[in-house]
């Protein structure tokens, strides 16, 4: 068996973990899954590719504009499509439709502007996608960077929840009404979380572009597997999402290698189904006992 599978699995798994974390960031204060998250990743990849590759901007300028742009668009999704639904009923599920609508609008808009052709994105020096041999695996410097950076980003996001505002987000997640009685304004925290979660999705797109190319087809696959990683890792649990992302990425690569690439999706979702049948709240338990 070819051990490159492991490298490929970890790279894909990193991206799934990042998408899952961006889901969690939005979920914690709102209990809402933003189904536009996959298309926001795609949008991040397209905007960054256009600025950096097509227009030739320096990578850091392209990165900043991408994160701000996708973050602000996600904030707009909260203001237009999520907050009004929750204002009517805190436990309503109208957001399923409104965030799916946002997803379709973004996908259509991007298709209009960019068309279906993928854009090749090269990582900035000294990172390259040129492969070399490491411990019997064929890897690139960029792949190693991506896997390491993912771990760092997940740990950094966890640090956000050690700040006072972050603790307030966890408080809202655990007992919204009790948080209200401590002076927390959940709407304000939701808006910040949407901005942060959107920027994080945009960053995921930027990081995905050199390995997957920037293309309009990126969204749905990342949405599904990122969501699967969030569920398997227990919704709201970012370290769980990291481990689940790797688990799904490696399973997918194994499925492709051992069976055939045609079966890789089936293998992934069989795994997800089995895990969730045995542990309905994912591998890492319920993050909080909710009192409603």
């Amino acid at each position: 068996m070819d051990i490159d599978i492991l490298a490929r699995g970890l790279v894909a798994g990193s991206l799934y973990a990042l998408v899952a974390v961006s889901f969690n960031i939005l979920y914690r204060p709102t209990n809402v899954f933003n189904f536009a998250q996959g298309e926001l990743v795609m949008l991040g990849a397209m905007v960054f590719a256009s600025l950096a590759t097509v227009l030739g901007w320096p990578w850091y300028a392209a990165l900043i504009v991408t994160l701000l742009g996708v973050g602000l668009l996600t904030l707009l999704i909260d203001v237009v499509a999520v907050a009004p639904v929750l204002a009517r009923s805190q436990h309503g599920t109208g957001w399923v439709i409104t965030t799916l609508a946002a997803s379709l609008i973004i996908a259509n808009g991007v298709n209009r502007i960019w068309g279906p052709d993928p854009i090749v994105v090269r990582p900035p020096a000294p990172l390259t996608t040129d492969t070399f041999s490491l411990a019997g695996m064929t890897v690139s410097a960029y792949q190693i960077f991506l896997v390491l950076l993912t771990v760092i980003l997940v740990l950094a996001i966890e640090q956000v929840y050690r700040t006072r505002q972050g603790k307030a987000v966890l408080a809202v997640a655990e007992d919204r009404e009790a948080a209200l009685l401590r002076g927390v304004n959940p709407l304000r925290l939701s808006r910040w979380s949407f901005f942060l979660g959107g920027a994080f999705a945009g960053l995921t797109g930027v990081l995905a572009a050199p390995v997957l190319y920037a293309s309009t087809g990126l969204g749905p696959a990342l949405l599904l597997k990122g969501f699967a990683a969030a569920a398997v890792g227990s919704i709201g649990n970012n370290r769980g999402a990291l481990i689940a992302g790797y688990l799904i990425g490696v399973t997918e690569a194994l499925g492709a290698a051992l069976l055939s690439p045609g079966y890789q999706e089936a293998v992934v979702f069989l795994l997800v189904l089995c895990v969730l049948l045995v542990w309905p709240h994912g591998l890492f338990g319920r993050p909080f006992a909710r009192t409603v």
Partner: protein, 249 residues
């Protein structure tokens, strides 16, 4: 009955609830309820289970909006304000069942007590020291999750968390619920210490006699209506109080 200024003097009305109706959706619970609390005092709100005491506190703290009447706190109408704005004005509600953030540590819960307040590290430490002075056990357990504390310790944490904010008016809903007699003594001692330090208190208690001992005024709620009010000692001996606890719904 209107307030002249925000600064206020001991004895003037800090909170007044004026003829409010409150319910859940279309189900009415409170009808024409009036209540007032003097600055610096302890007021007791009593009545049997289901009378509407918690509902009244929830309306005062903005979790419910009255469909009629108004609520004035510190000279300002608050009946349409959001809960966070009411907390910001210095009115704090420690809900029934304590409602701590069980997965977060004792320290984090105390820190959330000052959410939204600007203060330097020294000011924060001074407030923390006051809480630990009153409840030393919290200092020993400060790194544990709140959910790991005993019922009595959780009640101390809930009061300590409220103290961190140094509220103008503190509303406590059934603070002695589920506590052993020794802990009940501690909680009542803490309530009196808070009042001595200048905090006005509105106390909902099922231990009616004890509540009326430390309160100066008392309000009796029955089936969503205020049936009696007056000096606590007078209420303690009143026919209405007996009726409120005997009457069927």
């Amino acid at each position: 009955m209107t307030m002249a200024s925000n600064a206020g003097q001991a004895g003037d009305l800090l909170l007044s609830v004026e003829d409010v109706d409150v319910g859940y959706g279309h189900v009415g619970v409170l009808e024409g309820v009036t209540l007032s609390v003097r600055r610096g005092s302890i007021a007791a709100l009593v009545g049997r289970n289901g009378a509407g005491k918690s509902t009244l506190l929830r309306a005062i703290s903005g979790l419910l909006t009255p469909s009629r009447g108004q609520i004035v706190f510190n000279g300002r109408a608050i009946s349409r304000d959001k809960p966070h704005a009411i907390v910001g004005a210095g009115l704090l509600h420690v809900a029934e069942g304590r409602r701590l953030f069980r997965s977060q540590s004792v320290d984090d819960n105390l820190e959330l007590g000052v959410y939204g307040l600007k203060m330097d590290a020294a000011g924060y430490q001074r407030r923390l020291a006051r809480v630990f002075e009153l409840f030393p056990v919290l200092e020993e357990k400060r790194r544990l999750p709140a959910g790991a504390l005993s019922g009595g310790q959780q009640q101390m944490l809930a009061i300590g968390q409220a103290m961190m904010r140094e509220p103008v008016l503190l509303m406590l809903d059934e603070p002695s619920l589920g506590l052993s007699p020794l802990l009940v003594d501690q909680v009542f001692a803490a309530i009196m210490a808070l009042q001595q330090a200048g905090t006005t208190i509105l106390l909902v208690e099922q231990l009616v006699e004890r509540a009326l001992e430390i309160a100066s005024e008392a309000w009796v709620l029955q089936n969503g209506r205020m049936i009696a009010s007056g000096p606590a000692a007078q209420i303690a001996a009143s026919e209405e109080l007996r009726a409120a606890y005997m009457a069927a719904h």
